[in-house]
């Protein structure tokens, strides 16, 4: 439960920090850190306009998407505190819950009969498909390395894995950071600030959502940010820390991730749409490399460290 509270807490500030970093780097003062969440509150108080073409799918999809992320957060542990529900293979359910959220938003887009939203849906479905193997391969690497298949057990065994764990942790953090950028539709795959519908992915899918529903969709992407940063923290937190240091590391990683996203977005251009598939496949390829590294380390790790000595 602790992780659930911490992740939702971080979600409130994450996008604010990203935006603030970006404005400072471009020499502006920028809005306050709480501005995104204030926008959400504003949206919650607004009325809604629904498209005449839309049906009940349009009313339910944002809820389903948010619910899938919320339930996925329930599966993430924090340090020595296991997640609310933990079982063998819980990360498989985690990945498929996120996929369910994506499916819901795709249908939400196609329900409006808009050609723009159809375009966004088509891209989202394709990119989601290409990024999914990366995650599973990464978790396979953890399973090979630690011999466990729950988030909690992996984190316990992994964080005390010594040098090998650290190597794998850094690689994993890198992949997770990239997956986060794709899942939350940020640069270099998608640019939330673009004003041209033809170059959007996520934003164009929710063009017709307004008021309460749009607030839910915005909250959903905040939560995903915090969720993936929590996973990164989970990969690189050293073992046997007291709860306070653990908390400090957690918040530090969340902050760093937010700043990194802002930094990244200030200095990098969006990929050409046609380049995206190869970018995403390369992430999966790095995942596969991590996996191979994990096999080598787990099977021949002892020999390697002997040679090094």
């Amino acid at each position: 439960m602790l992780s659930f509270l911490l992740i939702t807490l971080c979600a409130l500030f994450f996008t604010g920090i990203v935006n603030r970093t970006r404005s400072i780097l471009s020499g502006r003062k920028g809005p306050g850190i709480l501005q995104p969440i204030k926008n959400v509150i504003l949206l919650l108080r607004k009325g809604s306009i629904f498209s005449n073409s839309s049906s009940f799918i349009f009313q339910i999809a944002p809820i389903a998407a948010l619910a899938s992320t919320l339930v996925a957060i329930l599966l993430v542990p924090f340090g020595k505190y296991p997640s609310v529900i933990s079982f063998k293979g819980d990360f498989i359910l985690f990945i498929y819950l996120l996929a369910l959220g994506r499916f819901a938003i795709i249908l939400n887009a196609l329900d409006t009969a808009s050609s723009f939203e159809g375009m966004g849906a088509s891209r989202e479905a394709l990119y989601g498909m290409l990024i999914e193997p990366a995650f599973l391969v990464l978790l396979g690497a953890f399973a090979v390395m630690t011999g466990h298949t729950t988030f909690f057990d992996i984190s316990q065994a992994f964080q005390s894995g010594g040098m090998h764990g650290a190597i794998l942790g850094v690689l994993a953090a890198f992949i997770l950071f990239n997956i986060m950028l794709v899942e939350t539709s940020r640069l270099p795959v998608d640019d939330p600030r673009t004003h041209l519908e033809l170059t959007m992915i996520h934003e164009v899918m929710v063009l017709d959502n307004s008021g309460f529903d749009f607030a839910l969709i915005t909250l959903n992407s905040f939560l995903k940010f915090a969720l993936f940063s929590a996973l990164i923290a989970f990969c690189i937190t050293p073992p046997d820390l007291s709860i306070w240091i653990h908390l400090a590391v957690f918040f530090g990683v969340e902050l760093l991730c937010a700043i990194a996203v802002g930094f990244f977005e200030s200095f990098r251009a969006r990929n050409r749409m046609a380049k995206n598939p190869s970018y995403l496949i390369s992430i999966s390829a790095i995942g596969l490399l991590t996996f191979i590294a994990a096999i080598v380390l787990s099977q021949y790790g002892d020999i390697l460290s002997n040679v090094a000595q």
Binding site: L44, K46, G47, S48, I49, F50, S51, N52, S54, S55, I57, Q59, I60, I63, A67, L70, L74, I85, K88, G89, D90, I92, L93, L97, A99, L100, R102, F103, I106, L107, A109, L110, D111, A113, S114, S115, F116, E117, G118, M119, A121, S122, A125, L126, M129, L130, E132, P133, F135, L136, V137, G140, A143, V144, M145, H148, T149, E197, D208, P277
Partner: protein, 663 residues
């Protein structure tokens, strides 16, 4: 006793030809439903009670034959029973309109073949003796062929059905060869003799023969080519049953053979894994580029067969390494997925059948907007879509989860080779999962959502109750298996124990925690549903207090949107079609707009995809054979003297050969 009643019911079916027109359906439905009750009861008592029911019967000139109902047969009987109940119930509403321009004999023949199909399937599942099994198998093929050609006036449909018949018989010859080998080696021609054959001979060869036969029915690539032709051709009330149950018969045979394997586990497992991965990925890639909704579903059936195959091959891999956990997980996952697929694929086929009946086309580019005109049919298709994409909280997720868990659990501590195999299974499952999201977001999004793309689609109305009620059964099963999977998985574990002879005791079930894990998965699914419901009511309460307006969809300032501007099924997948062009050979026929063309003229667009394997494995050799057989036609002179001469030459040849034989 029950068995005699069952036989009597079967023998009563031909009387349908003498029943008055209105009563035909009810006559057949009564017969089938009561047979379902009997066979279902017997199967359940065998599956849960554990007794193997054996009976000797003699069939005409096929001599004595053994009927044995073990757990594996019982499972598949239940699968067929569920599928046939839904299919027959759905047939009532569907055929009410479909049979109006058919003669009474055609109607009788259709009903009779449905019953014959059902009974022959049940018998194929319980007969152990080679000859009688092949008889039942053959009847099954012929009955399904007659069902498919209900609309056989159209040349194209007849051609597809005949290609089905031909390919099934190629499979039949594989069986014949396999059983001959068996007979030659053991002197017996039954499945029960497989054990003694496998213990004294190499296993892979005979397995391969059986695989070619059963794989033909199951639709493993490259033996799948009949599937995407026949499923769209079959009438709406048949295609769901074909995909739901008939292709599972191939799976049954495969599992039956696998259960007798004694050696060569590693080779067979690697072979099956490679074939299954290709099947899964190939099927789903081709499903993506389809425009015909039933063809799309047919290719998706091929893909699901791949998933089931992956599960099975992991089970065999477990046997090869003595890893019981992997065996149980892989086997249970495969069987559960077979059952799940049968449930949600018939749901999808039947709701797609209702839609194409209402719109008069199977082309998704001409559908759309059904969600407001046919809300219940759409809801059922949505449930099926979520389930088939293996998304929680429905049943498709559970079976894939079990396969995934087996693979992940066995990753650590395995040798590098095994890890590579497990990982390729995991990665391909992940890819297939992601790709099926594209397929079914397209199928549901393009065919059901948005605005109608044709005038016919605009005028659709919800189908009658009798075409919706049977789909409720499937939906309830989908949700129930999603939430309470631990109840359903237990008997499957027993089948794994019985078939693959591993020590799968209750203790294993409890301590290794399959039940505990699945009940937690069910809990998370329930939490998810509860969250959705809760958020829905919060949303409802809040929105009620806000101003709600309705307006046109945002068109970027363009105020006269047309339904033809929507994304179509081809444009939705065009990015992907580019990526996998070598497999799908997607070709587009259009003239691009030239730069100096200020006022573009009217133009047409044609997109066409090809099944590479179909063209290289079936069409090319056929053309080649046609060419060569045509050359042989010089012998066909039409003169009787020549034919007598051929006979004389032939006799001389036989004499000569028998002479040399005696030397």
């Amino acid at each position: 006793m029950l068995f005699c009643v069952f036989l009597a019911l079967m023998l009563l079916t031909p009387l349908v030809f003498f029943v008055k027109s209105k009563g035909k359906y009810f006559y057949i439905a009564t017969l089938i439903f009561s047979s379902v009750a009997i066979s279902g009861y017997m199967a359940l008592s065998s599956l849960l009670g554990g007794e193997i029911i054996q009976q000797r019967i003699s069939i005409l000139f096929f001599g004595n034959s053994v009927i044995a109902l073990d757990k594996l047969s019982a499972f598949f009987i239940l699968l067929v029973d569920v599928a046939i109940v839904v299919a027959i119930w759905y047939s009532y509403g569907y055929l009410k309109y479909h049979l109006t321009n058919k003669s009474s004999q055609q109607a009788s023949l259709h009903y009779f073949s449905y019953a014959l199909l059902y009974f022959s399937m049940i018998f194929a599942l319980v007969l152990r003796d080679g000859y009688s099994f092949l008889l039942a198998w053959e009847l099954m093929t012929i009955a399904s062929f007659i069902l498919v050609i209900l609309d056989g006036q159209e040349r194209k449909k007849l051609k597809a059905a005949i290609s089905y018949l031909v390919q099934m018989h190629i499979g039949f010859f594989m069986f014949l060869a396999a059983f001959m080998l068996l007979k030659k080696s053991t002197g017996e021609m039954s499945f029960d003799a497989l054990g003694s054959y496998f213990s004294s001979n190499p296993n892979f060869g005979l397995f391969l023969l059986f695989f070619l036969g059963f794989g033909m029915k199951a639709g493993f690539v490259p033996l799948h080519t009949w599937l995407p032709e026949v499923h769209p051709t079959a009438p709406g009330n048949v295609s769901g049953f074909m995909s739901g149950a008939i292709i599972k018969m191939g799976l049954y045979g495969l599992v039956r053979v696998i259960s007798h394997l004694q050696a060569d586990f590693f080779t067979i497992s690697v072979f099956l894994l490679i074939v299954s991965i290709i099947t899964g990925l190939f099927g789903i890639c081709l499903a993506i580029v389809q425009k015909d909704i039933k063809r799309l579903l047919a290719y998706s059936s091929i893909e699901n067969m791949g998933i089931i195959g992956i599960g099975l091959s992991l089970a065999i891999l477990g046997k090869a390494y003595g890893n019981d956990l992997l065996t149980v997980y892989g086997f249970t996952g495969a069987l559960l997925h077979a059952f799940n697929h049968s449930v949600f694929k018939s749901l999808l086929f039947f709701s797609a059948g209702s839609l194409s009946k209402a719109t008069g086309t199977q082309n998704m580019e001409l559908m759309g907007g059904a969600v407001k005109r046919m809300p219940y049919t759409s809801l059922f298709f949505l449930i099926g879509s979520v389930a088939i994409c293996a998304l929680p909280p429905f049943n498709g997720f559970i079976s894939e989860f079990i396969i995934y868990s087996g693979a992940f659990d066995s990753l650590s501590g395995s040798s590098v080779g095994a890890v590579a195999l497990l990982m390729s299974a995991i990665v391909s499952l992940a890819l297939i999962g992601g790709l099926s999201i594209i397929v079914f977001s397209k199928a549901f999004g393009i065919a059901f959502l948005g605005e109608p793309r044709s005038r016919k689609a605009q005028a659709t109305k919800e189908v009658g109750k009798s075409m919706l009620q049977p789909l409720i059964i499937s939906s309830i099963l989908i949700v129930a298996i999603g939430l309470f999977s631990m109840v359903f998985v237990r008997p499957l574990g027993d089948i794994a124990g019985e078939c693959l002879k591993i020590n799968y005791t209750n203790a294993f079930y409890e301590t290794q925690g399959i039940a505990a894990v699945l009940s937690k998965v069910g809990l998370v699914c329930a939490i998810f549903i509860a969250t959705v419901v809760l958020l829905y009511f919060i949303r409802k309460a809040i929105i009620a207090r806000r101003t709600v307006k309705y307006g046109p969809t945002w068109g970027c300032g363009y105020t006269a949107p047309d339904s033809r501007q929507q994304y179509t099924s081809s444009s939705y997948v065009s990015d992907f079609a580019h990526l996998v062009n070598p497999v799908t050979r997607y070709k587009r026929d259009m003239k691009p707009i030239a730069e100096d063309e200020i006022f573009p003229v009217r133009r047409t667009f044609k997109g066409k995809e090809h099944d590479v394997l179909n063209s290289t494995l079936i069409n090319k050799p056929l053309r080649w054979m046609n060419k060569w057989f045509f050359r042989l036609a010089i012998f066909q002179t039409g003169k009787i003297q020549h034919y007598i001469l051929y006979a004389l030459l032939f006799m001389i040849l036989i004499f000569a050969l028998s002479y040399f034989d005696t030397l």
